[in-house]
Amino acid sequence: MSAAPPAIKSQPQYRGLTWDASGQAHLLLLAARDDALLASLLGALPSAPIRVIDCADALAAFSAPAALEVTRAASLETALGLLDDALARASMGLRLYLAGPEDAIWQAHTIAAAYGMGRREIRLCQTGSLARPVFCVHCRSMTRHVRTNIVPCAGCGRALFVRDHFSRRLGAYMGFQIDAEAPGQVPPAETVYP
């Protein structure tokens, strides 16, 4: 808890991932490979049933314990479909763990929120790429996997400056047109979210 406070309050803060012992069933979505994270999770398994959806070959270095029901998915899209199916059948008492880049975990979060899951039932952990999903406040479209501070909007083409302002509902950072005052004057983009 000694991490510096975020520059902007809406920017999500992630701590490590641990199991929530109050859960009666657990569902873990892995969207990035992080051996250290997995070692700590597998080293302290809770007794309730655990299902894992892995779309990043995150379990490659591990022989998953038999207690885990693991489904491998070829893509994030497939994994999100599996997550949706699992949540449709799940009961109160489930805890959901989302580990991966923000683009993946917040898309999963949106699906879980639509099933009425709340903050006390979902744990998020950013791992892998720091790339950001960016929401264009002008045309309302999403630009994914943004690694630079300035990016052309995938929807309207405006040059967007990527803010730290994050919307949990949209699962994205806000992007504002950078040359609104002086059209055409766009500074060079820098890679800031590797």
């Binding site: 109050s22 859960g23 009666q24 069933a25 949540l87 799940a90 009961s91 109160m92 008492g93 489930l94 805890r95 099933y115 009425g116 899951m117 709340g118 006390r120 039932e121």
Partner: protein, 318 residues
């Protein structure tokens, strides 16, 4: 401070043994402020010993701005407010009523609502069911009562909930099985309970064991201020000394002395009336549902709507 309006008792109905319903209208005939399901009002009852203010859940239709409905159970051995409403209150009388506040609101984002009532706890549950039915939400009602004759408002709940109502007649040995009721519910379910304390405790304990997060288990319970020893309160800011007789709450005694103090639920639940105790020469008798055991042990806080001192004099920061 909650605004107070002058109301007239427009109608009284005996709906079950020991349960009486009241219809209240604005004394000047004006439209009443809006409220949401689960809200309560506070009635000022002109008892011989002074004004007693009791909270009651609204049971009527929130869309009806012409009247408010409450159902009151006669509480034996209480301070006389419910007895006054049963024996003395009559149509045409006027009462001071604090406008609705909601300490038991519905969760708007829920995908399904499980409403559970024990006894007179049906009152806020009924207003929730009515609002949920109107909004087309997914809900069900579980209503437990001592015997059929005591099932006040059962027909009204039945008319709203239809086959989504399940009744539990304790005289037939039926009781709510929280384990069965809360297990295997779809994600996004919220459960609400209003009933006696043992029921509230079982609900939270079993729900928690089944992995329900605390913010999905909603309960409402008000405490009626229990009588106790007479004592005095010194109000530090004015130096005023107020005597609290055995059958009045500390909050009522302070108000009767002309001092306005904060409050909302008047049932030990909301935390609004909390006062700092600066000095006390006797033990504090905590009757609220709000303060934690640690805070109580500190001896510096009291909820004057339901709690009191065991004789002597206490000084509060008011």
């Amino acid at each position: 401070m909650r605004p107070v309006i002058e109301m007239t008792i427009a109608r009284t109905l005996d709906v079950a043994p020991g349960i009486r319903e009241f219809w209240l209208k604005a004394a000047d005939g004006s439209a009443l402020p809006a409220y949401s399901g689960g809200s309560h009002i506070v009635l000022g009852l002109p008892l011989p010993g002074g004004l007693q203010r009791n909270p009651y859940s609204l049971v009527g239709d929130p869309a009806d701005a012409s009247k408010w409905r409450i159902a009151v159970r006669r509480q034996e051995g209480s301070r006389g407010g419910s007895a006054w409403l049963h024996d003395t209150a009559a149509e045409g009388m006027r009462l001071q009523v604090a406008v609705p506040a909601n300490l038991f609101p519905m969760a708007r984002l829920a995908r399904h609502h499980v409403l559970i009532a024990g006894g007179i706890g049906i009152t806020p549950i009924l207003s929730h069911a009515r609002e949920m039915a109107r909004l087309g939400l997914s809900f069900e009602v579980h209503y437990a009562y001592r015997a059929r004759a005591f099932a006040a408002l059962a027909d009204e709940v039945g008319a709203i909930a239809g086959d989504r109502l399940r009744r539990y007649d304790q005289s037939d040995g039926e009781k709510v099985d929280f384990e069965a009721l809360l297990a295997g519910r779809p994600l996004g379910t919220h459960a609400y309970l209003c009933g006696p304390q043992p029921m509230v405790e079982a609900f939270h304990a079993i729900g928690t064991r089944l992995g329900w997060p605390g913010d999905r288990l909603h309960s409402e319970r008000f405490v009626a201020p229990p009588p106790g020893d007479a004592f005095s309160v010194r109000l530090a800011r004015s130096g005023l000394r107020v005597e609290v007789p055995p059958h009045r709450s500390m909050l009522e005694a302070i108000e009767a002395a002309g001092v306005s103090a904060p409050f909302m639920c008047r049932g030990g639940a909301c935390g609004q009336c909390e006062l700092e105790v600066l000095e006390a020469d006797s033990a504090l008798q905590h009757n609220d549902l709000y303060l934690s055991a640690e805070v109580r042990a500190g001896g510096r806080r009291i909820m004057p709507c339901v709690s009191r001192a065991c004789g002597g004099c206490i000084t509060v920061d008011l």
